[in-house]
């Protein structure tokens, strides 16, 4: 029964192979959509079945072949289904399945239809390896795999250049994503090496028992925790390695929804939660995680309030919400972070797919200033988008409220100045979040049309696109009840499944449960404080925003210019690296090639020189003959004379 686990990654892998064959001509392109969907829906069904058949706290391990056996180190291709990975795999396969369905409609007119589905399926394969791997090595394989698929999918339209800034064409964006991720992966690998050399294994079981038995020193835990977190900042787009995510919007919208909102970017959060048994031994690492998460959340929200590109708003929003998740992890509330991961997957995917629906209707227009009044043309999109917006803004009873509130509560619960400051940052971010969310909503759907309906003809999307929207909207609305807080009976499905350190907090004191009500109300207040202005000020159009931009020009420029982080990096990091690589290239061309080609040329010249002896004349050859004979004769003579 455990071996069924292997089918969860294998089904999408097979789907990818078949889709690839279809792309190469095996069958008409449309069939790829069906094949890919079957594969992913099958994987989801399997995951669901296995999950329902499991007792709470149970673990299902599927043992595969031994992959590496080197000295004391051993790694096997084992898959593990426990509470945490079950939640993750359900989210991954479920949301993936919905997005696969959506893509049939969205990518219907694309040349690379079959190739797209092959890539998507491959992504699900890699992501499921990441989630289900029973050791960190397998997780890393999946980690790299999703990175690769992200690169391929961002750069899916590899020859499209119009509409993009020269540095942000799809291929360049893909490269940026991969390279920035690679930087994070360096830290990740160093962490893995430390663990492997100290404990001789990367299996979660082994590592957990070593940590519990006290072999994990605080210093080692701190080092490993920080190094692994570096990897997380890359994959999950936190400060300082978040810069690839906004550029990744160059890819097709389903890709943005699936990879850069719901699943891949959450891998960092998953990884930290998985390694919670390490982090609980290193409070300083947790503090760093929380700080980085909080700052990222605030920074990204501050950028999102001025963006005009609807996908960019959603991208920065993702960065910001991921910050929340890391804040939760850093506060020790790993289950809250995973809960927010789940609800975020629902509503962020919903918002992205809704944006895709809008783009589909508006002929790929991205600038919200040129939209408006779409409410009457696309009612389903409008309603589902609204549900997602409420959820993102943290409005009860939508799911986003419960998860965000839980994180903020667990942060404030510590009671010390550091955590309270982080709470304040989180609350401020919540206000900004609600504000830009409803700014986005109002500009897009409300008010009068700021385009010519006769030219553009917006219409609702086909069912393959609207059905996933509806499903996600239901999940985004009702999903909160998966993890109700203590006050409401603590119906917490996820809670007992993740090892978290409430124990640590109990030790250091902190606020009691009574305070939870206060923070809950503050959360509602923050949401409203953002929703109302965002809706009211923008429902008639962008004029108010433009006025404020002129009045507060410096602030506006900072926000709209993304705080110039990209430009700073380009100057400090990219340019020097380019110089170094230019130097290396020159060395290669002149020294290395020069050596090799030079040797060849010398041989050629030498041959040419020797060639001159052969002048085709018999007499010359005879002369050489005689000379040779003479030399030989002298040698023999000298020998005889002795």
């Amino acid at each position: 029964m455990e071996n069924l686990l292997f089918l969860i990654p294998l089904l999408p892998l097979a789907g990818a192979a078949v889709s690839g064959a279809i792309h190469a001509g095996l069958a008409p392109k449309k069939t790829a959509g069906i094949v890919a969907n079957l594969a992913v829906w099958g994987a989801f069904a399997l995951a669901l079945t296995l999950f329902l058949g499991m007792e709470p706290g149970g673990v299902l391990t599927a043992r595969g072949f031994t992959w590496i056996e080197a000295g004391a180190f051993r790694a096997a291709f084992d898959l593990r289904l426990d509470s945490l990975s079950a939640v993750m795999i359900l989210v991954v396969t479920g949301v993936s399945a919905l997005i696969h369905l959506y893509s049939i409609g969205y990518m219907a007119h694309d040349e690379g239809f079959a190739r797209f589905f092959a890539y998507l399926n491959l992504f699900v394969f890699a992501m499921s390896l990441l989630v289900l791997g029973a050791n960190m090595l397998l997780m890393f394989v999946g980690w790299e795999g999703v990175g690769l698929m992200s690169y391929l999918l961002i750069g899916f339209w590899y020859d499209r250049e119009e509409g993009f800034a020269p540095e942000a064409t799809p291929p360049r964006a893909g490269q940026k994503a991969f390279i920035v991720n690679r930087i994070g992966d360096f830290g990740f690998l160093l962490g893995l090496f430390l663990l492997a050399t100290h404990f001789g294994s990367l299996d979660y079981d082994v590592l957990r028992s070593k940590a519990a038995s006290g072999e994990l020193t605080q210093g080692l835990a701190l080092a490993v925790g920080l190094l692994l977190f570096v990897g997380a900042t890359g994959k999950s787009a936190q400060i300082p390695l978040y810069v690839w995510l906004p550029d990744a919007m160059a890819g097709p919208t389903p890709v943005s929804a699936l990879i850069h909102a719901a699943t891949m970017v959450t891998a960092g959060v998953y990884m930290i939660s998985r390694c919670s048994f390490i982090y609980v031994h290193a409070p300083l690492a947790l503090a760093v995680v929380a700080l980085v998460g909080g700052l990222t959340a605030a920074l990204a929200a501050a950028i999102a309030v001025t963006q005009r590109d609807i996908k960019k708003v959603l991208a920065y929003s993702t960065v910001s919400q991921l910050g929340y998740m890391f804040l939760g992890c850093g506060a020790g509330a790993f289950s809250a972070a995973v809960f927010h991961l789940t609800t975020h997957a629902f509503f962020k995917a919903l918002l992205f797919l809704g944006a895709g629906s809008v783009m589909h209707a508006m002929h790929d227009e991205l600038d919200m200033v040129k939209m408006g009044g779409l409410k009457k043309y696309m009612p389903i999109t409008y309603l589902t988008f609204l549900a997602g917006a409420f959820s993102l803004a943290g409005m009860p009873p939508f799911s986003g409220f419960f998860s965000k509130d839980e994180i903020l509560w667990q942060t404030a619960r510590w009671g010390d100045p550091f955590h309270l400051a982080l709470y304040g940052l989180g609350a401020l971010t919540a206000v900004l979040t609600a504000f830009y969310t409803f700014r986005m909503f109002s500009l897009t759907f409300l008010g009068k049309e700021r385009f010519d309906p006769g030219q553009v003809h917006p219409h609702e999307s086909p069912p393959t696109m609207t059905i996933p929207l509806v499903v996600l909207a239901v999940l985004a609305t009702l999903g909160g009840f998966l993890g109700l807080p203590h006050l409401f009976g603590h119906l917490n499905v996820i809670g007992p499944f993740v090892e978290h350190s409430t124990a640590v907090i109990e030790e250091t004191g902190g606020l009691g449960h009574e305070a939870e009500w206060i923070f809950l109300l503050i959360g509602v207040g923050c949401a409203l404080a953002g929703i109302l202005p965002g809706w009211a000020l923008y429902k008639a159009g962008p004029e108010w925003g433009a006025r404020m931009a002129r009045k507060l020009r410096p602030l506006y420029l900072l926000s709209y210019g993304k705080f110039f982080v990209d430009e700073i990096y380009a100057f400090l990091v990219v340019a020097p690296l380019r110089l170094v690589s230019l130097g290396c290239a020159l060395f290669d061309i002149f020294v290395v090639d020069g050596l090799v080609n030079g040797t060849a040329r010398r041989c050629d010249e030498a041959g040419g020189a020797v060639n001159k002896i052969q002048d085709g004349r018999v007499s010359t050859y005879a002369a050489w003959f005689a000379a040779g004979a003479l030399v030989l004769g002298i040698i023999v003579l000298v020998g005889v004379l002795r």
């Binding site: 060639n611 002048d615 085709g616 004349r617 018999v618 007499s619 005879a622 002369a623 005689a626």
Partner: protein, 103 residues
């Protein structure tokens, strides 16, 4: 009468060989070069015979000389046929005219 000393025979053969080599290297006319080669072969024959006589009139040396003469005859025939063919092609019997295999 007392026979000639072997050393004198060898000296004669050596000089003949040298003259043949000189002719081969100095002349441009292919036919004359060929003639020089025949002279060199004769010199070799003489050495064989001198050695044979020296060892008590061994038969092996004489047989060898017979073979040398036979092969030299065949070689002369073929070589002259080649020269004739070359003359037909190049209208010349100079050794310098046949340089097509240069390089």
């Amino acid at each position: 009468m007392p026979p000639a000393p072997t050393s004198a025979l060898l000296v004669l053969a050596g000089c003949l060989f040298g003259l043949g080599a000189l002719g081969f290297l100095i002349r441009r006319n292919l036919i004359v070069m060929f003639m020089s080669v025949e002279v060199m072969l004769n010199a070799a024959n003489l050495v064989f015979l001198a050695a044979a006589r020296d060892r008590g009139w061994e038969v092996d040396g004489q047989v060898l000389v017979i073979f040398v003469i036979a092969v030299a005859a065949a070689e002369a025939a073929v070589g002259l046929a080649l020269i004739t063919a070359l003359h037909r092609l190049k209208r010349s019997v100079s050794a310098d005219s046949a340089t097509d295999l240069k390089g």
